[in-house]
């Protein structure tokens, strides 16, 4: 199968959906001629014109609001938010407006929009361009949240997001834009709420999102060399969450680590870990561990930044301890 980059995969998904559905349009900063600073959207303005690929001023709350209004009245906007950190600027329009309108209107109004943005540290971009803020939006009922872990997922999830009748937030890891993966030429969609078992195993389950899937897979390799068999699962969407697949795996392995690049505290990892505790308690041989980014703003200095995120070695070390029963009575 051909291989394309995550960036090309996103571009293809959007182009295909724009060809299929004339109500789909894009708006954001420098999305047209520049094709975004990451060049993910290059070529779209040439095909679809400036009526459907719209450069906006640096007015995030403003254009987010425009997208909500356009979505409520028959269009399917895709909002491009250059950095995930800027989600704080659009929170009111996204969380007080987009997320609640279907519900508040008793199901009469829909807000079919996609907010595509990014996450991920270790790019030396410092505290305001490196955050992984998926937990903030996952907390708000009414929003769906997708976290592609490769080009294949990026394409299939984006197409599903565009066709969904709800506001969907997609977080792409900005370090993965140039990563290649096999992506079929034929059309496909990836349904929301269906996890992907990336690797089967019997001793421990590693549940990981976005680029942390690669970290978990590398950890699984390290563990395999020592005779520990790790299962790696990518939930693909955080909301909705494929609880059944996660529970089934944990009932089999009896141990789990949940890995996500958001901050360790009050995050995605805590939510998943507590669901496993609530629903698979009697199957567990050890506490479910959370591994997130340290609870510090992302530091600029490479010497500091690299220690803030989960690594394959760190995941493997924790897995070893869980398998050896070392953390059962951890203080």
């Amino acid at each position: 199968m051909r291989e394309i980059t995550l960036s090309q995969a996103v571009n293809e998904a959007i182009a295909e959906e724009m060809r299929r559905d004339p109500t789909v349009f894009l708006l954001g900063e420098d999305v047209a001629e520049a094709g975004t600073p990451f060049k993910v959207l290059s070529g779209l303005v040439e095909e679809f014109g400036t009526q459907r690929v719209i450069d906006t001023p640096i007015s995030e709350p403003g254009f987010m609001g425009l997208a909500v209004g356009a979505a409520m009245t028959g269009a399917r906007p895709i909002v491009d938010l250059m950095f995930g950190d800027f989600i704080f600027l659009v929170m009111d329009q996204l969380c007080n407006q987009a997320a609640k309108i279907h519900y508040m209107s008793g199901g009469k109004l829909n807000v079919p929009l996609v907010l595509r943005t990014n996450m991920g540290a270790t790019r030396r971009s410092a505290a305001q361009h490196s955050q992984s803020l998926q937990a903030l939006v996952a907390h708000i009922p009414g929003l769906k949240v997708a976290m592609p872990s490769s080009a294949y997922e990026a394409k299939g999830l984006m197409k599903t997001a565009i066709r969904d009748n709800n506001p969907v937030v997609i977080f792409e890891d900005k370090l993965m834009y140039q990563d290649k993966a096999p992506v079929p030429e034929e059309e496909y969609l990836i349904p929301f709420g269906v996890a992907n078992i990336k690797r089967e195993g019997t001793d421990i389950t590693l549940i990981a999102t976005s680029s942390m899937v690669q970290v978990a897979e590398k950890a699984a390799e390290l563990l395999a060399a020592e005779g520990i068999s790790a299962e790696v699962i990518d939930p693909r969407t955080i909301v909705p969450l494929d609880e059944a697949t996660l529970l089934e795996s944990v009932r089999k392995t009896s141990r789990a680590i949940v890995i996500d690049e958001g901050h360790q505290s009050y995050g995605i990892t805590a939510e998943i870990a507590s669901r496993l505790n609530e629903k698979a308690f009697y199957h567990l041989d050890a506490p479910v561990l959370r591994m997130g980014a340290m609870d510090v703003p992302v530091p600029f200095s490479p010497a500091l930044e690299d220690v803030t995120v989960p690594t394959p070695e760190g995941v493997a070390a924790n897995a070893r301890k869980l398998c050896a029963g070392e953390l059962i009575h951890a203080a």
Partner: protein, 326 residues
């Protein structure tokens, strides 16, 4: 440019030197980036020196500024030291922010620089709040809020200008209009006039050539004095130009601005060349004295770079220091 005032020679020479320090700092920073010694992402101030220097030379260390993602120039102009700046850019422990901030967050508390900001428009509230504090606490310092033309699209500006005008706060909004917001021309993202935005709130607004350091400095001195008397806020739009790409990686720019345009600004409107000829014409400095000053600045910069390259990174134990104040 207007004729020199006899008594001001030392001030003029310091202004020249500060502009050269910014240009030299940026040349070195660019080189560090291109040779992959500098991590992350950075935005060069080269070309806009007269704005930062003209304004900051009208301020004291007690006056505050807020800066932007394109902030090295503001930092130097407000009095920062090369060594600590380069250390910060390289993420070293002796940097102004102990390596935690980097290029986009450099702050220099000792000279009243409240910090660069990686959120466009992110400092508008901070600057206005600093001015509110001065007024409430009966202090006579002034705060200058630097931001770009692109940042005028942020709604926050209109909220804080309204309050600043209602409460007569000692703040000067300094809009550095360099013609572009990333890869987009200002006229494509800003409807109407920029100064009229401030005037709508009853704020006195000026539009000025940002490549003329004396004009910028004279205007700012007047406005700062009036701010101290309770006549603020004010708004200045400074027409200027950035010589490099939006950020250091923005090399192929032809699709959004022409080489001829860049050449015209660099050759015909350069703030340093213009001021240098004026200094010579007015007999304030000779060509030799100027060359000597340039060489001295270059030497300072080279030493600071070497120092920063050799300096240690912060110890890993610092990673969770400074999350909360004691």
């Amino acid at each position: 440019m207007s004729p020199a005032k006899k008594t001001n020679s030392a001030d003029y020479l310091r202004m020249y030197r500060q502009m050269v320090r910014i240009r030299t700092f940026e040349d070195n920073a660019n080189q560090l980036y291109l040779s992959a010694k500098m991590p992350g992402l950075t935005h060069m101030y080269s070309g806009e020196e007269a704005v930062a220097v003209g304004i900051c030379e009208a301020l004291t260390d007690d006056d505050r500024i807020t800066s932007t993602h394109r902030g090295h120039g503001h930092c130097v102009a407000k009095g920062a030291d090369f060594k600590q700046m380069f250390c910060e850019l390289l993420g070293k422990a002796e940097g102004y922010c102990r390596g935690k901030g980097g290029s986009m967050h450099i702050a220099d508390q000792s000279h009243g620089n409240l910090g660069a900001n990686a959120i466009v428009g992110g400092s508008m509230g901070i600057a206005t709040g600093s001015a509110l504090r001065a007024k409430l606490m009966g202090q006579d310092d002034v705060t200058v809020c630097f931001f770009g033309d692109g940042a005028t699209a942020q709604g926050l500006l209109y909220e804080v200008m309204n309050m600043a005008a209602l409460w007569k706060l000692p703040v000067i909004y300094a809009c550095e209009n360099n013609g572009y917001s990333e890869y987009t021309k200002t006229e494509e993202i800003a409807a109407g006039s920029i100064t009229a935005r401030a005037e709508a709130f009853g704020i006195e607004a000026h539009r000025i050539d940002g490549q003329d350091v004396l004009a910028v400095n004279e205007l700012t001195q007047k406005l700062v004095a009036r701010c101290r008397k309770g006549e603020g806020p004010f708004f200045i739009e400074l027409e200027t130009y950035r010589y490099h790409g939006h950020h250091v990686g923005d090399i192929n720019r032809a699709y959004y601005r022409s080489k001829d345009e860049e050449k015209d600004w660099k050759e015909n409107r350069d703030p340093i060349i213009r001021f240098r000829s004026w200094l010579v014409e007015q007999g304030i400095a000779s060509e030799e004295e100027i060359e000597a000053m340039n060489a001295e600045v270059e030497k300072d910069a080279a030493e600071a770079v070497a120092y920063a390259e050799a300096a240690p990174y912060p110890d890993v134990s610092e990673v969770d220091m400074h999350v909360y104040a004691a």
